[in-house]
Amino acid sequence: MQETTSVQIENCGKTFADGTQALEPINLSIEGGETVVLLGPSGCGKTTLLRIIAGLESPDKGGKILFNGENVTAKMIENRNVGMVFQSYALFPNMTVSENVGYGLKVRKMPARERETRIQEMLDMMQIHDLAERQIDQLSGGQRQRVALARAIAVRPRILLLDEPLTALDALLRDRLRMEIDALLRKLNITAIYVTHDQAEAMALGDRIVVMSKGKIAQVGTPREIYYRPQTDFVADFIGTINRLPGTEKLCRPEDIRIVAPDQASHVGVLAASQFLGDRTRLVLSGITEEDFIVEAPLRKDIPLGSDVPILIDDRFLIDPKAVGA
C-alpha cells in the first residue's frame, strides 16, 4: 500500500469575482489516511473548500494548500494527482465503462498490458466486471457511481475527493453505496475528503466531521464529539434533533429522555403528535417549552393523543453548548 498523504489548509479564503465571500480564511489539518467529511447546508462553502483542495479554484491571496508539507497551491488540478468523484458522476459518455476507468491511465501513458490489468483490478474491486463493455447510458445511477469511483482510484491518487457522491441516488441505494464507500476507504487507507449535506452520511463515513456554516468552520470533531458535544447552537441543530430545556441554555437529545411513572417525572408534557418509526416512536410533546419537545423511545403500545406524558431528563445527558471543549 502506498504512503498516505496529509493535507494542510492554511488561511484559505475565497472571494468570487462578484465580491461575494464564499469562504472566510480557514485553517484545517488532515492526517494521511484520514476520512474527513465537510458537512453543512448548501451555500456554506464546503464545495468551494473541496475545489480549492482539488486545485479547481485558487484560494484568495495568502491561502496555501500543502500535501505532505509540499506547497501545491500553484499547481493546477492536473498536476496534483487527486481523484475526484462528482454528484453528477461525470462519466465520459463517448467511452465504455472500461475506457472510462482506464482514461487516467491512458493519459499517464501506462503500457496497454499493465493498464488492462489495473482496469480489471478496479472493476473487480467495485464489482462491476459484467459492465466492462457497456456504454454509460446503459447504466443505472448506482452503477454509474461505482464506475466513477473505480475511475477515480484507478490512477492511485494521493487523495480522494468526493463531492456529494450519493445525493443523486435513492435512499435504499444510498445506504448500500455508503457502506461500500466506507469499506473501500478503509481498505485503500487513502486520505479522503467527502462533501455532503446529509448528517447521517457524515456520521457513518467520517473519522472527523468539519461542520461548516456561512463560509466558516463551526466545529471540527469526531462524529461522537459533534453529536454529543456541539459547541454552537447551529451545530446542535444541524446534527440530529435537539431539545432546548426550559429556563436554561442546556440541550438534550430526544433518545436520552425516558418516559417514566408520574411520580418520577421531572417534566410532564401533553402528546401533540406521534410517529411510529418501527424501532422507536417519535413523540412530540407540548407544554414543556415554547417549541415542540421531541422524545424518542421504543414503545410497544400507542399513547393516545392529548394524554399526559411524564418524562425524566437525566442531568448526565444534558448538553451545554457554552462549555467549549467539555
Binding site: A54, L56, M76, I77, E78, N79, N81, V82, G83, M84, F86, S88, A90, L91, F92, P93, N94, Y103, G104, V107, R108, A148, R151, A152, V155, P157, L161
Partner: protein, 262 residues
C-alpha cells in the same frame, strides 16, 4: 390529418420534383443530360469547384465558430451580449448585400486594394476570385454555425472536463477527448446546414462570380442565356442530390440529431 398532409406533400414536393426530373430529361440528350456534370467539362468543373468551396467553407466556419462559441459561452465580460448580436447580424443580409460587402473590402475600389497600393504600389483585388467567394460564404455561414455550437456548448457538463483534468489530462487532451465529442452533434448538424447553404447560395455568387463558375450560377446561365432548360433542370437535380447526400451522411453519423439541433 394524413389527407391534407398528403395533398401538401404531393402538391409542393412530389409534383415539382417530378416535373423537374422530367424537364431535365426532356432535352436532346434525354436522360444522359443527368450525366452532363460528368461529361461536359464546364459542368464538371463547376460541380467540383462548388463542392470543394462548400466543403472548405464548412470546415473553416466550424473551426472558427467552435473556438469563438466556446469562448463566448465560457466567459462573461462587458459587451458580451452586444458582441453576440453583432456576430449574428449577417443572418439578415441577402446574398447580394454580402457580395457587395466583399466588393467594398476586396474589390477594385476596395479597402484592401487601397491599402496594398499605398504600401506596396500594387493593388490587391480578390473580390471576384474564389477567395472572395470563400470569404463571402464564410461571412454568412459563421452566424448560423456559431448559434448552433453555442447552444450545444451551453449544455456541456463542466464536471466532465474537471474529471478529465483530475486524472491528469492536459488542456489539449480535454478538448480532444471531452469537449469535441460532446459538441459532435452540434458540429455535424451545423456543418451539414452550412454545406447545404453554401452549395445553393446564389445571391453572393451572382454578385461576385463573374469569372468563376459555381453550380447555382451555371444553372442560371444555362437557363437564361443558353435557354438550355433541360441542362439547368438536370444540374438542379445534381445540386440537390449532392446536398441531400451530405445531409444524409451527417444524419447517419449523428443519429437523428441533425433535425433536432439544426
Amino acid at each position: 390529418m394524413t389527407l391534407p398532409l398528403g395533398v401538401v406533400f404531393f402538391a409542393f414536393f412530389l409534383l415539382p420534383m417530378a416535373q423537374l426530373v422530367l424537364v431535365g430529361a426532356s432535352g436532346e440528350e434525354g436522360m444522359s443530360a443527368y450525366f452532363s456534370f460528368l461529361t461536359k467539362t464546364r459542368h464538371l468543373e463547376s460541380t467540383i469547384a462548388t463542392t470543394l468551396l462548400s466543403a472548405g467553407v464548412t470546415l473553416v466556419a466550424l473551426a472558427i465558430s467552435t473556438i469563438v462559441g466556446l469562448f463566448l459561452v465560457r466567459n462573461r465580460f462587458p459587451g458580451r451580449e452586444t458582441l453576440i448580436s453583432l456576430l449574428t447580424f449577417p443572418l439578415a443580409f441577402p446574398g447580394v448585400v454580402i457580395g457587395f460587402l466583399i466588393i467594398l473590402l476586396a474589390g477594385r475600389q476596395g479597402l484592401i486594394g487601397t491599402m496594398t497600393k499605398a504600401v506596396t504600389g500594387d493593388k490587391m483585388v480578390f473580390a471576384y476570385s474564389m477567395l472572395g467567394l470563400f470569404l463571402g460564404y464564410l461571412y454568412f455561414s459563421i452566424p448560423r454555425v456559431l448559434l448552433t455550437i453555442m447552444a450545444t456548448a451551453e449544455k456541456l457538463d463542466i464536471s466532465l472536463e474537471e474529471a478529465a483534468r483530475s486524472m491528469g489530462a492536459s488542456q489539449w487532451r480535454v478538448i480532444v477527448d471531452v469537449i469535441l465529442p460532446a459538441l459532435r452533434p452540434g458540429l455535424i448538424a451545423s456543418g451539414a446546414i452550412c454545406f447545404a447553404t453554401s452549395m445553393g447560395a446564389f445571391g453572393t455568387a451572382f454578385t461576385l462570380a463573374t469569372n468563376i463558375d459555381v453550380l447555382p450560377m451555371t444553372i442560371y446561365t444555362e437557363f437564361t442565356l443558353n435557354a438550355n432548360i433541360a441542362g439547368a433542370a438536370s444540374l438542379s437535380i445534381i445540386l440537390g442530390l449532392i446536398t441531400w447526400i451530405a445531409l444524409f451522411v451527417a444524419r447517419s453519423l449523428s443519429g437523428s440529431t441533425v433535425a433536432a439541433s439544426g
